[in-house]
Amino acid sequence: MNIARRLLITVPYAWLVALFLVPFLIVLKISLSDYAISIPPYAPTLELEEGWSGFRDFWVGLDFENFVFLSEDSLYIKAYWSSLKIALLATFLTLLIGFPFAYAIANAPQEWRPSLLLLIILPFWTSFLIRIYALIGIISNEGFLNQFLIWTGITSEPLVIMNTNTAVYIGIVYTYLPFMVLPIYSTLEKLDGSLLEAAQDLGCTRTSAFWSVTIHLAKPGIIAGCFLVFIPALGEFVIPSLLGGSHTLMIGKVLWEEFFSNRDWPLASAVAVILLLVLIIPIILFQRNEQKQREQNK
């Protein structure tokens, strides 16, 4: 092995170990510590100067108390459940809106498609925070939507959407829509129109041809899109904190408040560890789906 190759591997490797792996191990360790009124606000801390006995004291001081607390306090269990529920339903809604959208782009005239795709990608590059801010201008009580509804006489009272879970759903669909549209589009684009004709020639109705050919072939894209929305939505912080109400429980928000408002670092770390455990299954399923698609493309 020559020096250049070793250097090429070592530099990014060391960087990731130091700034990704080690920090995560620290979270794991602090999640087993106890809250303490000190700087830093947890105990035990590892006293390397005291040698072996310092290490032993440190080791004995670690326990699963925070996890026991999390599993007993209904607030946290509710927060995990409600995050799962919100993320699942929001993913489904995004699929409902995203699929026809992707389908329409894939069926648009060839020369339009690059521009339409650019129009989908553009909001994805525009700041996430700004798009949520833009949404507030639409759905708030004095917002554009309510002005419109009152002006047309559909309602006389403003619809209260802001600071409710509905606003959180709208926010997730709005900001994550490109993540759903792009993978579905890329599978639909490759779809061979003659397959649909063949299905119809063989006696399928248009609807059944659509279900058994189009949907079936678009499945990898649909699955990828759903995971790309579900995984980040589950740990979302900005959307529930800006659009949701005080009763909107999402785990990302709970973690943030536990850390910044209550300054309970060990508990915040335990919340993070559990969130990651909840995410591992969808992440593995997502990777498998990607792998399968790569193999099929070969």
Partner: protein, 270 residues
């Protein structure tokens, strides 16, 4: 070509309306004379003027720009190296861990990344400020860069590089004159992606920023929490304008680069 059906036309119209109406309204109301964000009081650019005099925003913009440029440059170098390791280095001990560490940050919730980095910086006794945000951003951006660059490298003909080596190039020369020009568009779009990710990040920056350094998203977030204000509309319009121009320029240049590459390949075949 099939004629566009009414269903497709309706989905396209509704879809794009949903995506763009909020942004268009935000831009329009940044030119509103009135302080009320939802009532039109005549055209004015006064909020842009006030923005330019708001020291706090200008400071935050400067910090954000600095963090963005430095972190995305580091991320591009590290990410390109990592892409080489993933595609070219073959087997080595710890390879699985390495690719895991490249892909994991892409799906890691931001709150966890932010929390873990903050706890690291505290454990090693680093003062929080521009440096810590740069380190944090470079770390998660390098993973995105390496994904972009390695997908380009996977389709790249290695024999070109071998030919250069056979013709007497040193490995470094071969890299500079053969490999780099081919992967350059991917490296450039990786840098751009890293830069926008850094510009955009609120959660990780909130964890890793100290009192001495506030980025623009942190500033925007704390004022949005207090309610909508025309100044934020003006600031958002400026950012949207810059990003739009950047993306359009990048997509046109990359289209040209691809066309040129195709032409060159055609010429080389004849």
């Amino acid at each position: 070509m099939r004629k566009p059906s009414w269903f497709n036309v309706v989905s396209l119209t509704l879809g794009f309306a949903f995506l763009y109406i909020p942004i268009v309204i935000l831009v329009i109301f940044s030119f509103n004379e009135s302080k009320l964000v939802s009532v039109w009081g005549g055209f004015s650019t006064k909020w842009y003027g006030e923005l330019m005099q708001n020291e706090a925003f200008l400071d935050a913009a400067w910090v954000t720009l600095k963090v963005g440029v430095i972190s995305s440059t580091i991320a591009t170098v590290l990410g390109t190296m990592a892409a080489f390791v993933l595609v070219r280095a073959g087997r080595f001990r710890g390879r699985t861990l390495f690719s895991g560490m490249i892909y994991a940050p892409l799906v890691m919730p931001e709150v966890i990344t932010g929390l873990s980095l903050l706890l690291l910086f505290i454990a090693v006794g680093m003062d929080r400020g521009v440096t810590t945000i740069v380190l944090a951003h470079a770390t998660f951006s390098m993973c995105y860069v390496s994904v972009v660059v390695s997908s380009r490298m996977a389709t790249f003909d290695e024999s070109l590089e071998e030919a250069a080596l056979d013709l007497g190039c040193t490995p470094w020369d071969a890299f500079k004159s053969v490999t780099l020009p081919i992967i350059a568009p991917a490296v450039a779009s990786g840098w751009l992606l890293a830069f926008t990710l850094s510009l955009d990040d609120l959660v990780i920056a909130s964890f890793t920023a100290g009192p001495s350094a506030t980025t623009l998203p942190i500033k925007i977030y704390s004022s949005v929490r207090l309610g909508v204000s025309p100044e934020i509309n003006a600031l958002s319009t400026l950012i949207i304008g810059l990003v739009t121009i950047g993306v359009l320029v990048a997509s046109v240049t990359s289209k040209r680069a691809i066309q040129k590459q195709k032409r060159d390949e055609l010429l080389a075949e004849h």
